[in-house]
């Protein structure tokens, strides 16, 4: 039934956009937020247990670690979404 399929695809796409929006907000926060805009205030404290000024740490190390985690979270969320909406490729095309 094409009507149903279209509606389901719309809902799938809406959820996808919501996930992407949330993840990109974190992406922006750790890099542009903590690593650039707020770098100076954050530099007045150290990353706990190290000698890293916090803002500098985000700009040269922390943001990169968060980026990696974000992509794997996205993979997990989308694989779940594919299953839920029956569009996963795992059952073969």
């Amino acid at each position: 039934m094409p009507e149903d399929t279209t509606a389901r695809h719309k809902e799938y796409w809406r959820r996808n956009i919501r996930y992407v929006g949330m993840l990109l907000a974190v992406w922006f926060l750790v890099s542009f937020g903590f690593g650039i805009l707020l770098v100076e205030p954050l530099n007045s404290v150290n990353l706990p247990g190290t000698a890293y000024p916090l803002g500098f740490w985000f700009a040269q190390q922390g943001a990169i670690y968060v980026f990696v985690v974000l992509i794997f979270v996205y993979v997990k969320l989308m694989n779940g979404l594919d299953q839920e909406f029956g569009v996963s490729e795992e059952d073969g095309a």
Partner: protein
Amino acid sequence: MTAQQWTLALVVASFALYIGIAIRSRASTTKEFYVAGTGVSPLANGMATAADWMSAASFLGMAGLISFMGYDGSVYLMGWTGGYVLLALLLAPYLRKFGAFTVPDFVGDRYYSQTARIVAVVCAIFISFTYVAGQMRGVGIVFGRFLEVDIDVGVYIGMAVVFFYAVLGGMKGITYTQVAQYCVLIFAYLVPAIFLSIMVTGNPIPQLGLGGVDLASGTPLLERLNGLNTELGFTEYTSGTKSMLDVFFITTALMVGTAGLPHVIIRFYTVPRVRDARVSVGWALVFIALLYTTAPAIAVFARTNLINSISETPYSEVPEWFTTWEDTGLLRFEDLNGDGRIQFVGPNSPMENELTVDNDIIVLANPEIAELPNWVIGLVAAGGLAAALSTAAGLLLVVSSAVSHDLLKRSLMPEISERGELLAARLAAAAAVLFAGYLGTHPPGYVAQVVAFAFGLAASSFFPIIILGIFSRRTTREGAILGMISGIALTGAYIVWFTLMHPELSNTDNWWFGISPQGIGTVGMLLNFAVTMTVSRFTPEPPEHVQRMVDSIRVPRSVA
């Protein structure tokens, strides 16, 4: 064995490995030549992407740049990794579903227009050649320094190797050699970094050593370096000198440019399924992050070492590596005040600086500065070559497929046979190698800077129209064409004006709002978005079949 013998042995062994792989993975169809038959596993593709992506600039130049820029160097670290988040979330899965061979393929079909396709072909070729020039020079530098051959001869040797596996194997050959090249380059990068980290901080993990304590002085390493920098009249290492706005714009241009680089995008056409494309970007970033989180540590270790070992040292007592590198011209000392000592000082110092250090030295000379065994020196040479060759091959493939697939098959000669197209692809790859060699022997600018400009162009041309092509069904061909042209025209003009025509005017007073030529790609991208969206609003909506195509690329598998 001497350092030179080790270098020769390791370089020859690694080249033999690449050629062996190339012979085993020849391409026999255009699908194999363009996208490795879409049979690459996500993990292998992640490694290949990392090697494809990390160029001579990343391997040789970046740690040095950061070492001299301090906090400002963060633009490269965040910019060249953050783009992978955009690639994973906004581009790779959808382009994989579309299932084309090239980037102009997507642009031409999505925007139902040969003009759009041709504009995309021109952008792809231009970006790739801008970028490849730096790689070839990197090959020449490594050969010149380590094997004492003429830099031009080094470029020719590099060309011969790339020629072999790119022309023979296409994407299939490139992919598997890139996997091997990643292993070589990451090993070569990490070994000296670990040695240095132990030497300076006592911690074997460079990422942790950077946040540790400097053994020599007993103070935290970054605090120690901030102190040394201030003492010598440089800005504090963790502070930087660029304006916040410029840092913001450069970082954006590099991130968006990364996500818009054709040789990176096409890597995600080579995996079997959409879900593989998603996870493959994740693996690529893991492999890249391994080098990118190590680079800032090397930068700090090397700078601290450099200052400790040469600042105020009498020239007659300099270590041996100092004179070897002076011979290459990458290190220059001029005793301006005639006191016989080396003054290495910054702009805030009352004294005059007498030492010029080329960025590339930091990584190349590290093993010698740290007095590491000879085989490590050979390893670094092999790693630098792996980084440069793998990127060059990926770029040359973009050029060859743009010519044989987009220009011939999809535009000028749609009747061309499969065999004819494959032959055309090989010939185009061969011609591209020759032209890249010419650029390598007549190099423009220095490695990292030339590469940075390729990003501005990628950011302002492809990124906006690919995103809009997926996320906005209403985007029209008129919008996309004008968007691409205006984005690349603004970015290109600004860069050419300030770097080629009037380099003397290139300073914060003359830049628009203090945005450097490196950051202008962000403005070009915004202009492209604005033009594309505005024009799309006033032009007839895309035909029915194109809108259906957009719907279909949004889901991994349509429900029958």
